[in-house]
Structure formats: C-alpha cells, structure tokens
Amino acid sequence: MKSNWLLSAALGATALTFASAAPAAAATKFEFWYGLSGDLSERVQEMCSRFNASQADYEIVCVSQENYENNLQNTIAAFRANKQPTVTQISDGGVVDLMLSGAFLPVKQLMEENGYTIDWSNYFSGIASYFSTSKGELLAMPFNSSTAMYYYNTDALKAVGFDGLPETWEQVEDVARKMKAAGYACPIAFDPTGQWQWWEQFSAIHNQPIASKGNGYGGLDAEVEFNKGKFVQQLAWFKKMFDEGLMVHKSKAAGQTANEAFTAGDCQMTSSSIADHGSFSKQAKDGVHWDVAMLPIWAGTERHNSLVGGAALWTLKGKSAEEYKGAAAFYNFIAQPAEVQHWSTITGYIPVTNSGFESMKAAGFYDAAPYKGRELAIKSLTFTPVGEYTRGVRLGNFGAVRKEIQNAMQAVLFDGVDPQKALDDAATRSNEVLRKFEQTYKGQQLP
C-alpha cells in the first residue's frame, strides 16, 4: 500500500510543479530539470537568467530536483504521466536505461533540424564516449563534466616532511602513517558511499574491467568482473587502513561528510570530484591550505585515463516543435566559448570542449590560485586515449550495481567480511540485476 502512497505523492508533486508553470505568454516557455543543489544550483539559475536575458523568443524555466537520483526518478514519473520537462539532466549512471527507452531526441539531430552547426569533434573524447552511441553519434548535450581527484592538506604534508604531492598509493599510505604518528586524528576521510571515486575511477586508471564486453559497451549480456581484478586487493587495503585508523569513516550518516571534514581541516586527505574545487576554495576554513592532484596509482602499474563524471542534458520526446527550438537555442547558448569558460570558472567543472580548454589555458586561467590545479582534471581524463575499460560503464540499472558496491565496502569495513567474499556476493547480485534488465529489454540492442 506504501507504493500507492508513494505513487500518488509523486503524481501530486508533479501536478504541483506544473500548476506553478503558467502558460506561455509571448515567449515560448520550456522547462529544464536539473539535479544540483546549493551553490551549484544557484550557478545554474544564473545561467538560465543569462539565457533568458540574451534573447526574447524563449523562456527557460529551471527547476532544481536536489540531486541526480531524484531528478531521474522525478523525470521518469513525469515522463510516464506525459508531464515531462523538455530538457533534463541525467548523469552517467542513468544513461543505459534512457538510451534503450527511446524517450529522447538525439542532440545531434535536434541541433541539425533547428539549423545550428556544432563541431562535435571539439568535445573531449571521454565525454563523447560516455554519452554517444557505438557509432559515435552524440545523444545528449555535454553539460557538467568532471572526474575524481585527490585532495591534500598541504600543511599536514609539510608537517610530516613530504615535498610536493604523493603520486602513488604507497606514498599515500606512508604519509597517512606519519600523519597519524604526528597526532592527526584523521589522515584520510573515507566515505563508503563514494563508490564513484574509490571504485569506478580506481578501476579505470588501473585499467581493471568493471564488467565484461568492455564494461558493457559490447552488449546487454555483459557480466560484472569487479570481483576478479585489482579492486579486491584495493578493498583489503581500505580495510587495513580503516582498522589502523588511517582512514576514518566520514559520511552523511556519521554526521560529517568527507568534504566537510576536509575543508574543516579535520581530515587531511580525501578523494572527490574536481567539481568540488570551487566550493572547497569557498568553504575551506581560515588557515586550511590544500592542493589537488590526480588520483594516486599503485607503483609499478601504468596509469590510464580516468572516467568522466557528471551529467549531460537530454531532450525528451513529446514536446512541441517550438519548445524544441527553445531547447536547441539553449544548447547553442551554453556551447558558446564565453559561456563554457564562465561555467567552468565559477564551478570547477571542466570546460567540455578542447577549444574551450585551450583558450582558458592560453589566457593563463590555470596559472594561479584559486584555479591552479584544475587543469590536472583534463590531464587525468586525457592521460591515455580512452580504451575498452576507460571509456565509461554501460550497464543497465547501474544505480543498483553501485549500491551493491557501497554495501560491499561497508560490510568489509564495518562488519569485517572478507573482501573477496563481499565482492563475490556483490557480483552475484549485480549479475542478477543485469540479467533482469536484459530480460526487460529482451531483443533490444544498445544503440
């Protein structure tokens, strides 16, 4: 009966949202739902205002749905009730479900039909490979892209006599140990729900398969393989670090998130998105000095490119030609070099085009604080050309697989479950999810 309650609540919320959107007056109104909140949400609202001020034909109405997960849920509920927004922001994890649904208009087609020429080859290949078909046709408009980085408190590094920034996990372990000995209570902040940086990105830069068939790109019958590679040892290492108090559990449930612990100076290292570079600058307590680096790798392994994170803008089916014209105009607006540069500056998300990055580099943007270090995200993303296991992850209901990894990491850390066993269990369950997904889309191919 609860589901009925939930369903009606969802429908009610949707109805309310639309009741507040008055019918179009002179300009064509269309909606854009996004999954960012707080500071980043305000930046999106400013972008929407700039677009509205820049022309008189269209009016974009931007609605925050708090986070990617909520936005995906609400967009699906709205789509099923035929009340969907024209544009919605869907992150990496929701791509496959949307791809197979056929509920969207490919961005390339949309822009061509509305007479805009966009140089698609200008977009970073890592971004393109996550959001395009196997034939290379881009399906969604690249919007906010990031990758995982490693953040250090430079005062703590100095205190233990480390010059520069660590590059390997061996060095990280070493400085963590020294920090502990020097009296730092929390050398590394670890959030077991941060599977994106601690698991997905680890797998990519060490070129470890997350799933067979090239992380699922080869077909819906792919099986997960994360329980067979280096991540098993990595999880055992997390456990060792956790037990020695070198990694400390920081999460929403613990009362302080890893990011909060880092900016407050309570923890000296953390791993997070490059998109947090901007907010770290703002939120770091007085006297906390920090720097950012590419994710560490194990000595003796070859570094590969990291995965692109963040989200892209998808144009949903079932809207009028006028609204699509508005969406195309909006995409064209955010693709302008000035806008790309502004968005990247105020947030920390990477400039999504090669030319955007080059022009920012040429202008000296990355040379001085507070933006110095952000270029390392591009370096990380383009370290090697994207390969079979570094172009992305294409698994159905990937959110459920991520949840299994979160559970496995928590079970190992908190309940002392053997890492191999925890990951084997997670793999078995993940494969069940994938098989069920394959059944649901029986006979369909990944585009």
Binding site: M1, K2, S3, L7, Q73, F79, H249, A254, Q439, K442
Partner: protein
C-alpha cells in the same frame, strides 16, 4: 427490532458517496491495479513496453535471502516498536487515570508526539542520536566508540525503533486512557477495599477489562510499523548501514525508485498489501467478537 433509515431516492445516495468513491478509486484501486499488473510483467522504467513474466517476479523475491532478511527485520521492528510504545503509553495512561497532580496538563501533553510528522521527528532524533554531536553521543566521551549507528546496524535499528515507538505513544495513550476511564469506578474501589494495591488492580482488574482496546492497538501499531516506518528510515538511516535498517516498505522504495526495478518493487508491495489486509481482517474478526461479548 432492527430499525433503518432508508433513502427513497435512488440517485442521491450515489451522489453523496460519489466524491469518496472517486477518491478511493483514483488513489487506491487504480494504483493497486497498476501495481498488480506490473508485478506479473517486466516493466521498462521509462514506460514504453513490458513483457509478461508470470510468477517470475515473485519467485525472484522468494529466492532472495536479502528479502527474507527484510521480512524478519520488519517483524522484529513491528514487535519491538509496538511493545515499547504500548508499554510506555499504558504506564503513562494508568498514572494519569489515577488523577494525580497535574493530570489535566499531562492528558494533553502526552498526545503531542502524535502531531509530529515522522520525517521531522526523524531529523530531530538523528541529531539526538548522532554519535559525534548528539546528546546520546555524549556517552562516546566516556566509553569511546560504544554508540555508533552510522556503522553498527543494531544501533541504527534500535535508534529507528525508539523513534517510532516515541511517535506512537500519543495515539496509544489516548486510547488507553479512554479505556481505563470507561471502567466503572466501583470495580476499582471494590478491589482497593479488598486490599489490592494499584499494581495488583492493574494486572487483575484493569488489564483484562481493557483487553479489547489493547488488542485493537496492537494490530493498529503493527500495521503502522509496516507502513509508517518509511518516513523515519528515509530521514534517519536511508536503510543503512549495509542495508541493516531496510524493512519491507523501505526495500520497495529502494528497489523501485532507486534501482528502477518497478516490477520487483510492485511484487513486493503486493505481498506487503496482502499482509496488511490479513492483519486488518484479523482485527475486524476479533474486535467484533469482543464487542458482542461485552
């Protein structure tokens, strides 16, 4: 002799119950029929097609030991939260019933928790029980690491159950107090004259006489713990750590809305619905009988 008021007009009654029927139809029967349909098919998350799956969704659930884990957990949750809530409410009610000083004030004060929305209470209790900052967390200063609902599933479950029980006290209190005040004073006074102390009178006189109310409350509390636990768990633990506070209703939400497995979630909600219908049925049967007996 049976007396009935009968409407002569055939249309008016339908008009009168029309709005209510419409509400029930739109907000209950329609979603239920959808859930029933999805439970027997494989539903694509974005809509646009589904395949007949027969009993596969149910078999899949019944084979899953994690599902049985949530069933056991729901059972434990129901008994613990109900027991705790009713015991405290009964104690408070019997004190208020004895007309001690300040009874009038307590009569209304004890009902207040019922007026608090579960998510709001959840946020407050999450703070109270927070291992690092909260009031209860202060015991970590004495014995470090003794209380940690963020990593310990048992602590987390206990925290949610206490909060759930606290929310239910007001409701239970009102019913218990009303039931106690229905008992003729003379019975109690006769007991007292025979030398029975208050606790003895409670056990031998009052409890048997309020048994129908207690039974009604038992069923209502159990049903509420199956369904209303959602708001609390979502604000307090989100099912964690390691899914150790996932009860049946929360697993439906996680599988359906977060995991996008609409069919699996629909099948689970059908099972939960049958369970609640069963409990309601028992309650009607039993309460009816007791009423006639009295």
């Amino acid at each position: 002799m049976e007396r009935r008021a009968v409407y002569r007009n055939k249309v008016l009654p339908w008009l009168l119950i029309g709005p209510q029927l419409l509400l029930v139809l739109v907000f209950f029967y329609w979603p239920t029929s959808q859930a029933l349909y999805w439970a027997f098919t494989l539903e694509q998350p974005w809509g646009g097609g589904n395949l007949w799956a027969g009993l596969d969704n149910f078999l899949y659930i019944f084979r899953d030991d994690r599902y049985w884990g949530t069933v056991l957990r729901s059972g434990f949750y129901a008994l613990a939260a109900t027991g705790l809530s009713m015991l405290v409410a009964l104690t408070l009610a019997s004190f208020v019933d004895r007309a001690l000083k300040g009874t009038k004030l307590f009569q209304s004060v004890f009902i207040w928790p019922y007026a608090i929305a579960a998510p709001a209470a959840g946020v407050a209790f999450r703070f109270i029980f927070s291992p690092e900052a909260g009031l209860v967390g202060a015991i970590n200063d004495i014995w470090p690491g003794v209380w940690d609902p963020a990593t310990n599933g048992i602590h987390a479950l206990a925290m949610v159950i206490v909060c759930h029980a606290w929310l239910g006290i007001g409701y239970n209190f009102v019913f218990f107090l009303a039931a106690l005040q229905m008992i003729p004073r003379s019975i109690n006074e006769a007991g007292a004259m025979d030398g029975a102390r208050p606790f003895r009178r409670m056990l031998d006189l009052q409890l048997p006489l309020i048994a129908p109310t207690a039974f009604f409350l038992l069923i209502m509390n159990i049903i509420s713990s199956f369904t209303d636990s959602f708001g609390l768990i979502d604000t307090m633990t989100e099912g964690g750590p390691i899914g150790q506070t996932e009860v049946m209703v929360y697993k439906i939400y996680v599988d359906g809305f977060k995991g996008l497995d609409y069919s699996g979630a629909a099948a689970q909600s059908i099972i939960l619905m049958l369970l609640v219908i069963g409990l309601t049925f028992i309650q009607f049967k039993w309460v009816e009988r007791r009423v006639h007996y009295n």
